[in-house]
């Protein structure tokens, strides 16, 4: 009888361990790679190029309407800001760890739930192009605001920044601030009068 009880207890403990492990596996969330992504497209087909090109002409006076799409797959809602910069050949672009130093032209803040993509409109128009020494002088209208830029190799830079609840600030890219992954895009354009 005592042997039977001991065997019963051993079996209960063993079966309990097996069934608990199986339950834990079933209840645990599936592992996934967190990421955020960004894209830019144009409904009217007027998009520049992702590297310098001479045929990506944007005519002055013609409104350009782009849509930025931002995807959140971080496992939780994210508070993001898209910083739009207008760049020329004087400084370097953003990279995977450092944002660009070109001035911010527009910022768009948005909350994005996990597993979804949000669209942000970006509208701009070249008002005039004046040739000058060392390039061109551009007068633009960006989301209703006038912007002036001189130089050459013009391009738009879009950077994704996410809100960090620890520092209560936005930081470049996604993930923890100390090891964040930069997300950025640039679209080159050739202004024509």
């Amino acid at each position: 009888m005592r042997n039977k009880l001991a065997a019963f207890l051993i079996l209960v403990v063993s079966f309990a361990a097996i069934s608990s492990a199986a339950t834990f596996f079933i209840l645990s969330p599936r592992a996934s790679q967190p990421f955020m992504a960004m894209g830019v497209y144009s409904r009217t087909g007027l998009l520049g190029y992702l590297e310098p090109a001479t045929n990506s002409s944007i005519t002055s006076g013609k409104p350009v309407n782009w849509t930025l799409s931002v995807t959140n797959n971080m496992g939780s809602a994210q508070f993001v800001t898209i910083i739009v910069r207008l760049a020329n050949s004087t400084l370097s672009s953003s990279n995977s760890t450092t944002p660009s130093n070109f001035p911010e032209i527009v910022t768009h803040e948005r909350f994005i739930r996990d597993g979804s993509t949000t669209s942000i409109n970006f509208n701009w128009t070249i008002q005039s192009v004046t040739p000058q020494q060392g390039g061109k002088l551009l007068h633009l209208q960006v989301e209703g605001e006038p912007i002036v830029m001189a130089g050459d190799n013009f391009r738009w830079i879009f950077e994704l920044w996410t809100y960090d609840l620890i520092c209560r600030c936005f930081h470049y890219g996604y993930g923890p601030q100390s090891a964040s992954t930069g997300v950025w895009l640039q679209v080159w354009f050739n202004p024509s009068g």
Partner: protein, 149 residues
């Protein structure tokens, strides 16, 4: 990029911004506690609306339209407060439902283990019981009758 506003005295816009961030924090906490994406969706939409009101308020303040700016900031505060409360409620609900589910599932697992152990221990007894029953039901055929046929 620090988003805190430098201001001598807390105004409605600063409060609106602080409340938006607090609501965002509540949503993230609710998600950690197990609130589903479907439950979170209306809160995210409301929070985006609160953000829009706060941005309008900032823009109106820059244009010195203080009354309109205050109105927008108050709308934003009201929205983000309701989002915070709803997120906390969803989080608590999700947490207690998750605890209940865990207790139920692990209880079932334990019960299964006990029944499996009983089945293994009592298997020989059950086998011999079934054999006895089979033997009792079997017709008795006498040797002489068998030979006569």
């Amino acid at each position: 990029m620090n988003t805190d506003r430098a201001s001598g005295q807390p105004d409605h816009i600063t409060t609106a911004r602080t409340n938006i961030v607090a609501a965002f924090q509540s949503i993230q906490t609710a998600q950690r506690q197990g609130a589903s994406n479907t439950d979170i969706l209306p809160l995210i939409n409301q929070l985006n609306l609160a953000l829009q009101y706060e941005q309008n308020a900032t823009m109106l303040e820059a244009q010195n339209r203080t009354a309109a700016a205050d109105d927008n900031a108050i709308q934003s505060i009201s929205l983000s407060n309701s989002v915070s409360l709803e997120a906390q409620r969803l989080g608590n609900e999700a947490q207690s439902s998750s605890i209940r589910r865990s207790i139920l599932v692990y209880g079932l697992a334990l019960l299964t283990a006990v029944f499996a152990a009983i089945a293994v221990i009592e298997a020989p007894t059950a086998r011999s019981f079934l054999a006895k029953r089979r033997l009792r039901k079997a017709p008795i055929v006498f040797g002489e009758e068998k030979n006569a046929k």
